[in-house]
Every structure is written in structure tokens, then in C-alpha cells.
């Protein structure tokens, strides 16, 4: 530490890995150039010399880290590139830095992102193959025994992958604020998608109208996010820190700012941020990322403004304010009604859910049937049968917070399921730490 550099109030770790040699395709938003200007800005600011800010290289995630969360078809190794293993490992490194108390806050500024990757994976959707936050969360649970975790998704797109993975987990409060699904990919994220039978009310969606600005996000934070976190009392708060709500983002329609992102993160005070989307490479990302870092570190963010920032451009109409307030009220009700909602499943042994999942990157549909095997004592285990690109998966997933008896039941069902030539059969038991395929 020197007198000549500022000191972060909170020890903050950054895993900055822009993967300058990886792209989905040369003109894709997820291309080499994406974090070029961000990296240039962060380095020029001298963050490496700020006392209490520490840079870490990512590490390679292991296949077992991925298999703990996903049912990859044909397999994780065949779907993922080295870059995916590194970006996942970047999120894990951030988590380890936090959990090992090397730092008090951590931010993985890595790519490719992950929040559109669902439990079953047949390919790339929404620029994501595997869900780097979800893998990180289960890594933390496995290695550090943490239970209750809140994930707040501030990307402009609905975090449908994260929602899917934690849908039936009452120990994960997932809150996603995003541009209304009627106007943007992936077309989901409505208030009534509120959680599976064992976790109703723990999945909170806040679909916001296009052009939502600082005021709108402030309202969501004050009325929904902060009160819900207060009540849920998570051991860790994670921000899926997409930055595509920015007014200059080329693939979204929102009106958010670097100042807004900084304030949101100051109020949310997340333990870990993981970069998701954000495709205004020059006009937004250098400033939004810096704003988030400084906010996490407890430093002055007042000078982090886009060169063309004019406060008057970010005033919302009274009508829009009322609309957003109404959405907020609906979201609060979902959470408030969670105990009541659970009663409707009392006595049921299983609940079946069917859905189709669209893979936008290479344009195909997957079909999925999920059977929640309910339990009085725990969230129960889940059976998943899915088909995509003429490949099949039949999985038995036991969550970390399951009971021993559900774990044995899943194991038995797995054992009884006959091998089929075109189907991967998987036992994914996070409770017992078993991953088997046949």
C-alpha cells in the first residue's frame, strides 16, 4: 500500500479474462473484441495498483464441476471449448478467492457468459453453453457447505437458464430483472414463472418495459430486491452482472447507465459478480464494468460517466413509473405467497412439467419432460427426459439439500432404467456426490 494510490474500502478480487482469441463467429456479438476496450480502460485506470484490489487469473473448470449441474449431451467435453472451461473456471476462481477469504468481494469479468444455459444442454443458446454462475454456486455448496444463496440477475435478458436450474430449489432465491420477454430473447421471464412445486415463490421475475432507466431500476431495487433479500437472509448474494441494459447496447432497448449500474451494485452489495451480456463494447462496457468494480470495492464512482452521458435523457414518464411499480407489487406478492403456494402441492407424489427449449445460436428445438418427485422432508429429486438434435438424455437429479431417502430412490430408479442405444442415462446426485452415466 502506498500513500499515492487510493485504497479500496473492501478487498476486491477481479478475474479479468477477455479471451481475445475466442469468438462464436467473427461478426457475432460474442467476438474477440468484446472486452478489448474494457480491459484497456481498467488497465489504464491503474486498478492493478489500487491498494486492496487484486487480479487473479482464471483456472480451468473440471468436467465434474460441469456435470454436477448440467446434463450435457453427448458430454461436457464434446460441447464445450477450452474457452468455456476457462470462463467457468474464472467464476470458480472468483468464488474461491471469496470463500478462502483472499478477498471480501469478487468479480469474474470473463466470457463466454452462461445464464441462458439450462440444466439439459444440447448446444449453445443465447451465447451460452454452460451456466457459469450455476456451476459456481454448486461448487461453493460442495466445497464450502454454503446453503442459502441469492442470485440477482441484472442482465437485460431473462436469466432463463439459471431459473431452469434452480427452479425447484427453495435454498436459491433467484431474482431476474430484465426487458419484458414479449419484446426480446428469450421470450420468457414473466411474473407467474415463480418456482417448482418444492420452491414456489423463490423464482422472482421482474419484466420491465423497454426504455426503463435509472429510476425504474432504483424502484425495483428498493421495492423488491432489497426487501426480499432482507427476508430471505442468504449466506451469499451473487449478481449475474450483465450490462446490456445500457442505453447504447445494440441488441436491447433499455435506457440504463454506468452510474445506474454502479448505484445498483452499491445497494445490492453482492459478494460475487459474474459478467453476463453487454454488447456496447466501446460506449458502455468500459464504464459499466469500472462502475461495478468501484462500487463493489467501496470506492468513489462519481466520475464514471459515459462521454455522452446527459442526466436529462434518463427521466422516465409518470406512466412508466406506475407500470413498473405495478410489476414490482406483483413480484412482491409472489414471494409473500410462497408458503401458501406450497400447500397446493401437499399430498402429491409427483408433478410433471413439459417444455420446449429453443437453441437460437444454431436454431433447433429440444423437448423436455420433467418429473418432480416430491418429498415431505426435502425438495425431492427430479427426473428429466429430454431430446434434442436426435439425441436423448434421461437424468435423475438429486439436489444438495435432498434427504437420504430421495437419494436412494433416485439411485434405484437409475439402476432400473434400461440402457438404450441413443440415450444417455445419468445419475446426478449432488447430495451423495455421485455422477454416473450409462
Amino acid at each position: 500500500m502506498t500513500l499515492f494510490m487510493p485504497q479500496a474500502r473492501r478487498k476486491t478480487g477481479l478475474v479479468l479474462f477477455p479471451a481475445f482469441d475466442w469468438c462464436i463467429s467473427p461478426s457475432h456479438p460474442e467476438r474477440e473484441e468484446r472486452l478489448l476496450y474494457t480491459k484497456d480502460q481498467l488497465i489504464e485506470e491503474g486498478l492493478e495498483d489500487v491498494a486492496n484490489i487484486h487480479f487473479f487469473n482464471p483456472e480451468m473448470a473440471l468436467e465434474e464441476d460441469v456435470d454436477r449441474v448440467h446434463l450435457c449431451v453427448p458430454s461436457a467435453a464434446e460441447l464445450m471449448t477450452t474457452s468455456h472451461f476457462i470462463s467457468t473456471g474464472g467464476a470458480i476462481r472468483a468464488a474461491r478467492a471469496l470463500m478462502d477469504r483472499e478477498v471480501e468481494r469478487a468479480f469474474a469479468i470473463v466470457r463466454p457468459p452462461g445464464h441462458h444455459a439450462m440444466q439439459t444442454v444440447f448446444g449453445d443458446r443465447g451465447f451460452c453453453i454452460v451456466n457459469i454462475e450455476a456451476i459456481m454456486v454448486e461448487y461453493i455448496r460442495k466445497h464450502y457447505g454454503v446453503g442459502k444463496i441469492a442470485i440477482v440477475d441484472t442482465d437485460c435478458h431473462h436469466g432463463d437458464g439459471t431459473q431452469d436450474i434452480f427452479y425447484n430449489d427453495p435454498d436459491t432465491l433467484f431474482i431476474s430483472m430484465h426487458q419484458d420477454g414479449r419484446t426480446i430473447f428469450p421470450g420468457s421471464g414473466f411474473v407467474d414463472e415463480s418456482g417448482g412445486p418444492s420452491a414456489p415463490g423463490y423464482n422472482i421475475n421482474i419484466p420491465l418495459p423497454p426504455s426503463t432507466s435509472e429510476e425504474g431500476f432504483d424502484t425495483v431495487m428498493e421495492r423488491v430486491v432489497l426487501p426480499l433479500l432482507e427476508e430471505f437472509q442468504p449466506e451469499l448474494i451473487i449478481n449475474s452482472a450483465g450490462q446490456d441494459n445500457h442505453y447504447s447496447d445494440p441488441i436491447t432497448n433499455m435506457n440504463f447507465t454506468a452510474q445506474g449500474y454502479a448505484r445498483l451494485n452499491r445497494n445490492l452489495n453482492p459478494d460475487i459478480c459474474v459478467l453476463e451480456g453487454g454488447y456496447a463494447l466501446e460506449g458502455a462496457l468500459p464504464y459499466t464494468n469500472l462502475g461495478i468494480i468501484l462500487a463493489m470495492a467501496g470506492m468513489d464512482t462519481s466520475h464514471v460517466r459515459e462521454p455522452d452521458y446527459r442526466p436529462e435523457r434518463f427521466v422516465q414518464s409518470a406512466e412508466m413509473n406506475r407500470y413498473i411499480e405495478d410489476i414490482c407489487s406483483q413480484a412482491i406478492e409472489v414471494f409473500a405467497g410462497r408458503h401458501e403456494a406450497k400447500k397446493q402441492f401437499a399430498g402429491q407424489e409427483q408433478v410433471v412439467e413439459r417444455k420446449r427449449i429453443f437453441y437460437d445460436t444454431t436454431m433447433f428445438q429440444a423437448a423436455e419432460t420433467r418429473v418432480y418427485h416430491l418429498c415431505q422432508r426435502c425438495p425431492g429429486y427430479t427426473e428429466v427426459v429430454a431430446e434434442g438434435l436426435h439425441q436423448h438424455v434421461h437424468g435423475f437429479t438429486v439436489p444438495f439439500n435432498a434427504c437420504g431417502s430421495c437419494s436412494s430412490k433416485a439411485k434405484d430408479s437409475f439402476a432400473k432404467t434400461d440402457r438404450e442405444s441413443d440415450t444417455v442415462i445419468v445419475l446426478q446426485d449432488r447430495y451423495a456426490g455421485i455422477f454416473e452415466r450409462k
Binding site: 482469441d21 491503474g46 476457462i86
Partner: protein, 548 residues
Amino acid sequence: MIIGIDVGGTHADGVLLQGGTILAKKKVILGGEALEESIITLLEALVPADKNRLARIHLSTTLCTNALIQDSLDRVGMFIQAGPGMNPEFLRCGDDVCFLSGAVDHRGQVLRGPSLAEVEEAAVVMREKNIESVGVVTKFSHRNNEHELWVRNKIADDFKHISLGHRLSGMPNFPRRVYTTWLNSALKSRFHLFRKAMQFGFSRLNIDCPCYILKADGGTISFDGACEFPCQTIHSGPSASVMGALALIDGKKDAILLDIGGTTTDIALLADGIPLLEPYGASVGGRPTLIRALLTRSVGLGGDSSVSWRDGSFRIGPERHGAPMTFGGAAPTPTDAMRVLGRINEGQKAKARQAMEMLRPGEAAEKTAEELLQCFADRVYEVVDGMIEEVFSRPVYTVSDFLEREKITPENLIVIGGPAAALQSTLESTFHLPCLVPADFEVANAVGAARARLTVQASLYADTTQRRLAIPEISLLESIDKGFDMDSAELRLEEAVRMLARDLGGVAPSQVDFIERMQMNTVRGFATTGRIISLKAQIRPGLTEITE
């Protein structure tokens, strides 16, 4: 023939070299007289009879370090343009700072110019305070120096010395650029005085060969160059020591260099025989800078460090309480342990034994001495290990760099300094590596100064969408066409390095290495709009070839 002079904290050493052979060596104690006088005294003793045979003089000097410690720095006026980002208030280098409006962005695009009124107003105030030296720094000036040059032009007639951020380094890191520029400005008049005194001395001795100053990166710079960039001559002592060790041991391997002195041990690392550099630059008096510097770590651990025994372990240094007991001092030191074990033969053995018995009464002196030296070696090992880990942990930004990372695997230890030979066997067994102690190590620094060669680094940033090329170190900013590619970049940068080499050293560089090559297409919408190329070239620190 070359004369190498190394000015240290307490004394100055000089050697006269012919090729690799030391023809003469001389040491003077630095006392009351001016630094310049001591150097001239050394020169007088070393200059060969036939003065024409003296090709050049190389000098490592503590001038800048002393100026900092003694606070004999110039009062500096700073013009700083920060633009969007961190609150720049912490960069106030003293009271005389003008924060300029306007900004250049991360891609070198001008967002808004500074205002003339604020520059003029600040210049008036600075002049009223008799400020002669100013620094001008803008954020991202390594991408676009327009605003720095603009300010310089407005105030060119008002100040004797003007230092521009982009000229000092092409590296990113704005706070470091500010401190580097401030430091350079603050050393200007002190360095000019030094040159004047030295020139006077040279003419008194009838010497007219060129004189070079050693830099923090283990290279040399001409005296004129050093006057323009005095900040580069900081930390030239440690760099002389590294280059000296290199000169005395010829090796192309990964290695660890230790310079063990009375109170400190300086550590450097070699990869394939080339000393490693700091990623950005040296820290000077607590200020991070962009002054290109060898990676060295100093531990408060030396032969004369005071030792105590507490809770079952030794505490060595960092303080020193006079001479070792074997030489008449009052407190036990590692040197006393060396005497007990017969690793050195000077000094009173009885006193040395007494020192060990004082440390651990009732224990055999030999055992205490063994364990003390082992503890010394263990501490050094710990720091070396940390350095190797730190180098390995330097950030990487591409998948291929991530996959290709390799840890330095030292194959030997090169140890110089007073206690070097006495610690040889202990270090060898601790590091499990052969430990080389070169002959003549007492003049290693002077030899290092003599054998060092010119080093230069230059950086290029080209953006074909914006049709702009920048090579900050030579103040180049010009238009390029859309076809500008990596080959053109290499050509232009090599040219720049040769130009810098001429300007700063008057010699032709032997080999220009390209590093940190990056090329990336810029895409807007679905079309490629151009490419960004960034490239660095350098002449690495190394030894002059022996041709004489």
C-alpha cells in the same frame, strides 16, 4: 576499453575493462564531498595512460535516489487530464496541479479538448510561484498524444522544462504515467547540474569519450538522453548488480540472482539468461511508475543484520546494530555464525562463539550457527518462491497464453556480495541447486555498469478504422490507410526503435525483439470495419559483445 563506475550508498567502485578482462579496479569511500567529485577521483585512477583507447564511460548513479531521499527535488507544476473514470483527486502531486477538462477515450478518440483559459490561468499561477519544470499528462495519451502536445505548445515559452507523459512510456496505466512524469520533471534541474559538474570534470581530465548512464532496466542511456529522461536512471544500482552477475557468469538458463550485502539481499530472476522486468515499472519512493525496470526484490536480510532468538526461532534483520561481534560489535549476526563455522577466516573466533552462545545459551555454538544460516537461507527461499509464483500469476488475456503459461524453473543460483561464498553450501542444500559464486564479485556492480548495453522499448497502436497510428515514445501520431497490417507495423516500429537507439545511445541496436503482438478485427453491425494492431518492440537488457 570501458570504464564502469557504480555509486553505492557508502562507497563507489570503478573498473577499467578491456573486453572481459579487468585491467584496474578502484574503490572510494563516499564522504563529505560532492558525488561528482568522488566519481572524478575514481576516473582519475582508472583512466588508461593512452586516453584515446578509452571508448566510453558507464555510470550507475544514486543521484536521483538521493535527490528523492533528501527531498532536493524541483517544485513541479502538473497539467493532468483524467476524463471519465476513477476520481483523479489522489493524483495531486503537490499543490501545483491543474486538472484539465476534456478527454481522450480508450481507443484514442478525442472526446473533447481542454480549454485554453484553464491552461493559461494555471500557467500564470505556476510562473508566479517560480516553477520552472512542469509535467503534462492525459489519460490514454499512449493512444493519442494530441492533448499533451497541445498543452505543451501553449506553455512552451513559459517553462524551462516540460515533460510529456507519452514520451516517457508507451505503456498503459494513467496513475503510473502521472507519477513518472512528475518524477521526471522533479529531477530535471538536479540532473542538469550533475551533467554540468561531470562535464567540467571530464574536461579537467582531458576525457572526451561519451558517457552513458545506467538505467533501471539494466540498459544504458546517453548522458543527453538521461538529461531529458532523468527518471530512467533511478534504481541503477540494483540493475548494475544484476548485469554484473550476468557478466561474471555466462549462462543462458533460468536462474536466481542473489546479491547479499550487509543489511539486504537483492533478488532477481533470469529466464533463459535474460533478466526479468517489472510488468509496468519500478516503484519509486512509494509511487508506482512506468519506469522500465528489472524485477528485483529487496529483503532486509544481510550478513550484518542483527539476530535474536524468540519463541524457538530466529529473527534476522531487517535492522542492523553496528558491526558483527566477531568484528567488535555488540549484537549477534549471521556473519558471526559464518565465523564459527569457519566459512570466513577474518574476525575473532571467540567473539563469534560468544555471539552464538548469547543467542541460545547452553546450546553448542556450531549448532546455533548452522541453524541460523539455515534460517537465513530459508527466508531467501521463501521470497524467491513468492517471486516465481508472482511472475507465473501475471495476468494473461488469451486462451493460448493461458495454456502456454510456464513457471520459471531455475537451474542454478548466482550469488554475489560479501557473504556469498560463506553461504554457498547452505544455499545449495536449501534450493537443491548448484550455487555459483563468481570471482571478482566485489566489483560486480562496476563490471555490470561497464558491460551493460543500450536498451529501448517502443509501442505501436494502429487503428485502421480511425486511420490512426501512434508510437508514443517518438511522439508519432499520423494517418494510415486501411491496408495497414502487422507487417507494416513491424516495419514502422523497428524504424522507431532504431531512431530511439540513435537518439538515446548513438549506437545501432544489435537485435530488436517484438513482443505482445495483438491484432483484432473491429466489427460494427455485421461488417468488419477495420483492425486494431498493437505491438511492442524492445532491445532487451543484455551485455555488450566482447569484440575488443
